[in-house]
Symmetry: C2
């Protein structure tokens, strides 16, 4: 089983990396860019685990290890 | 329009951050973890752009600015 977890800053948190990318793109002439937010993606490959266990353990891992819940939010999906 | 670009190391490239996360999870007792790969995610908000322009310009931006094509690959999708 393969699971993807996306971690990004909460809306209220400044994202200087995203801002830097936005400014770079505007400088290059891509003037349709309104905003850029940058985050992290984790692809986890899992052995021998049921769908029920995934539903329990992936939010737990995402909350405890992959993100900082004070400033970041996460979402996850099963890839296959 | 909102577009998401995922950038990750090519399969053949070592991913030390992913390895560190994998080792941390195994140490914490999550022994069903087989592998972890870490990458970047960019969420781009776009003004006044057609679907055709997106199809042309997002791969260009992803290739030229958001990723290092020598060691990274990207995929992208329209969110809304």
């Amino acid at each position: 089983m393969k699971v993807r977890v996306l971690v990004s800053f909460k809306e209220s948190v400044l994202d200087p990396q995203g801002q830097a990318v936005k400014n770079a793109l505007l400088t290059l002439g891509y003037d349709f860019i309104k905003d850029v937010r940058q985050g992290k993606v984790f692809e986890l490959e899992l052995n021998d685990i049921s769908r029920e266990e995934i539903d329990k353990v992936i939010p737990e891992i995402s909350h405890k290890v992959l993100s900082n819940p004070i400033i970041e939010r996460f979402e996850w999906e099963i890839l296959k």
